[in-house]
Subunit: 460 residues, 2 copies
């Protein structure tokens, strides 16, 4: 791909911006609220609108049946290279309540000038109609200027992201071969800040569950039994306390197996982001970093596993006091996982830890809830390098190589079902009010996002 | 006091046994259930019955007004010695529900032969009409045979022990001088076993309270904040775990100040009691002794302090799982105290421990509930020795010098208000069904108890 072909696609995109905005407005006018049954026909209409648009551009697009709402699937195989990209987005939107807080009607999109910036307002302007269209409009720019795409592209747009996803997972299972590509892009997240793009290269997984410690066969009087009789709360507190040393390291056997060492390159990238640990903690009333010592907050959130107690209960917890040694106590624990940590092995290590401290006359009853591995994108992959280059070209700044402390199911689902990396490359801003009244997307975000996708496609 | 005078009093008591039983039956026929309002006149009638009986024996007895039910106060000052004994008992009884489980009506006392033993059945036969009468009948035996008592005696019998004690404490405060004696006896507990009498020489005190740890200003998502954000449950578990070392010793600063060293004499006395640690734990489904290592269960229960967690709560504790780092967590803790441990100092040490582990951005909110010192009777006191001798003479076996893991408020109240030791010397058996249907008191218990009091009074 020459620089000229990229430039002409960029020029087209720039000149076509008003049309692209009009296309977005038409899509935004369709109230495709997936969580409200009466809007089901509108959801289908939004899907069909995208199918029509994609077919018009030159894709082979169809509305495909799912267990719930249909999926938009579109292929474009007339490409310069054999590289194949899967793009995931969604055409449904959040409900709009409370309606009275909107300054303009949610399904009547408009542009307002806010502090000198043109801003698109309306439900879906960002999440995810606006962000999805940036990719489609980039494809349009390539096809219109070069007659084809630089690489093969498949779009998979679901209609249930904001409600219960019923269709997506079975559909991916049933259409593995069709959907499998070299890399997946998801455009449903923020960029790092106004001037910095971002690629999410890691997500934490987790494994959650419960342990109940059963001691005496009934609740005991703490005077008549206190001393020789085992108190399950005391035991549980001790067991949980011993899961962590004074440096914040988790002491479970083999807990850190599979935790990747942070490369100097990524450490350096994160150091440039200007993440304000103090503000991050200050926003939630804290000021003393917890967790593992010697790590920044970002390093902890994006690259390190945790062991949290999310719930604990035992004995008498009402008003006043009851001098009781309870028969049992329980805790709910959650382990956030990174890299190649195995959820089942971590849970087994937790059970082993508890059992190793369990007196032979007590019982530990475990309940394992859902779990999933973390996602770690291999940043040495040349494909990732291409995306970094493209974003750097557009923003004149290298992208933040972000982690994410929480799980995003679709990333893990794509990884597990379709066996490929999924990169979160989003262009929204934290103040876009997604899921809230007055959702917005800056015209600049929309424009730069289209341009970024033009460059990314060109780099692949 | 010569052996002959004691013998003649014992002879009288023995010959008068049937009359004593008749006196008890008359008292038991009065349904003095203090917790049920409609029985209030019956309670007063029971008090008056005792006043009349005591006056008839030669006491100066009166029903004295209290804030609630009246108290029986009786003095006998015509004595061989100046020694002064206060006897505490109560004339009220427990309710009788469920009535259908009684094999004979609760307020129609009778004697049944059970496995070759004559047994008195009916509400109050043991608790505390039967036990109280053993002391009064012993006084009668002394006065009838020797014209006077060996020492001055004051009886204080309340009518609210089985409900809310309203009268007793203000009455003791208002009549300190009148009630103050050299030692107090309370006859409202069990003897050690069928053939072994008992003196309770120690009761544990306690101090209870609550600590709440407040961390983040709101509940946080464990994915988005887990790591750098402090989790109050994790912190609390760690703090509570560190209150105790691996030998079961409490690590609070100065916690053991005032804990008496167990004398070899008492250790030896307890060793002879044949207390079955295994059975004690086995009865509540346990088999591994908890608490401080190297101590028997009795030593732990009767002579050592504890730190128990009686309640704990934090985060999500419902069904399923919520990946939350809660804003706060709390625990309710109870410290059992012995000897001269100071409840306020122990609580202060607990607060200090928590605060020493508290990050500067978290808060610990403490709530101190009620507390009271333990009671430790000085067993080298010659008065105690006299009681031991008397019981040994009657039972041909030294009494068990028992401790009690729980608090018995009247003992502490007498100690605090009247500034004297109160000895629990009871003759009931664990199977007497006090507070249950078919309450009983063996005729042998009744007889030997009267004889024991005759000897105790003789020894003083």
């Amino acid at each position: 791909m020459t620089q000229e072909t990229i430039s002409s696609a960029l020029d087209f995109a720039e000149k076509n911006l008003q049309n692209s905005i009009n296309n977005l407005f038409e899509l935004m006018k369709i109230p495709s609220i997936s969580s409200e049954k009466e809007f089901r026909p509108e959801c289908i209409r939004a899907g069909q609108y995208l199918v029509d648009m994609l077919n018009e551009i030159g894709f082979d697009a169809k509305l495909r049946e799912g267990k719930g709402l249909p999926l938009v699937v579109a292929h474009y195989n007339n490409a310069e290279s054999d590289k194949h990209v899967l793009f995931y987005g969604h055409y449904d939107v959040q409900p709009v309540d409370p309606l009275e807080l909107w300054t303009s009607p949610p399904f009547e999109p408009c542009i307002k000038n806010i502090n000198g910036k043109d801003v698109i307002f309306g439900r879906g302007s960002s999440d995810d109609k606006g962000q999805t269209l940036t990719f489609i409009e980039a494809c349009r720019a390539w096809i219109k200027t070069n007659g084809k795409l630089p690489c093969r592209v498949t779009l998979l747009l679901e209609g249930e992201e904001e409600s219960d996803t019923i269709s997506l997972i079975p559909f991916m299972h049933e259409n593995k071969e069709e959907l499998k590509a070299d890399v997946a892009f998801i455009c449903d997240t923020d960029r790092w800040d106004e001037t910095t793009p971002a690629i999410t290269i890691g997500l934490r997984g987790n494994i959650t569950g419960e342990v109940k410690i059963i001691g005496p066969s009934r609740d005991l009087h703490s005077g008549l039994y206190g001393g020789p009789a085992r108190n399950p709360i005391v035991l549980l507190a001790d067991m949980l306390g011993k899961m962590r040393d004074d440096n914040g390291h988790i002491t479970l056997d083999g807990f850190y197996d599979g935790v990747p060492v942070l490369t100097p390159e990524i450490k350096a990238n994160w150091a440039t982001l200007g993440f304000d640990d103090k503000k991050f903690l200050g926003d939630v009333g804290l000021s003393v970093p917890a967790g593992e010592k010697g790590l920044t907050a970002l390093e902890q959130l994006w690259a390190r596993p945790t062991a949290e107690i999310c719930g604990i209960h035992g004995g008498y917890t009402g008003d006043g006091f009851k001098t009781v040694i309870p028969s049992e106590a329980f805790a709910k624990v959650s382990f956030r996982l990174v890299g190649n940590q195995d959820p089942d092995k971590v849970w087994a290590a937790f059970e082993k830890h508890i059992n190793s401290l369990l007196p032979s006359d007590c019982q530990a009853v475990f309940k394992k809830y859902s779990g999933g591995r973390g996602v770690a994108i291999d940043t040495t992959n040349p494909l990732i390098k291409s995306v970094e280059t493209a974003l750097n070209d557009e923003w004149q700044k290298p992208p933040a190589l972000m982690g994410c402390g929480a799980s995003i199911p679709v990333v893990s689902d794509i990884r597990e079902i379709l066996d490929m990396d999924a990169l979160l490359v989003g262009f929204a801003l934290p103040d876009d009010n997604i899921h809230s009244p007055n959702e917005k997307y800056d015209v600049n975000s929309f424009n730069k996002a289209i341009r970024s996708w033009v460059r990314i496609l060109g780099q692949l």
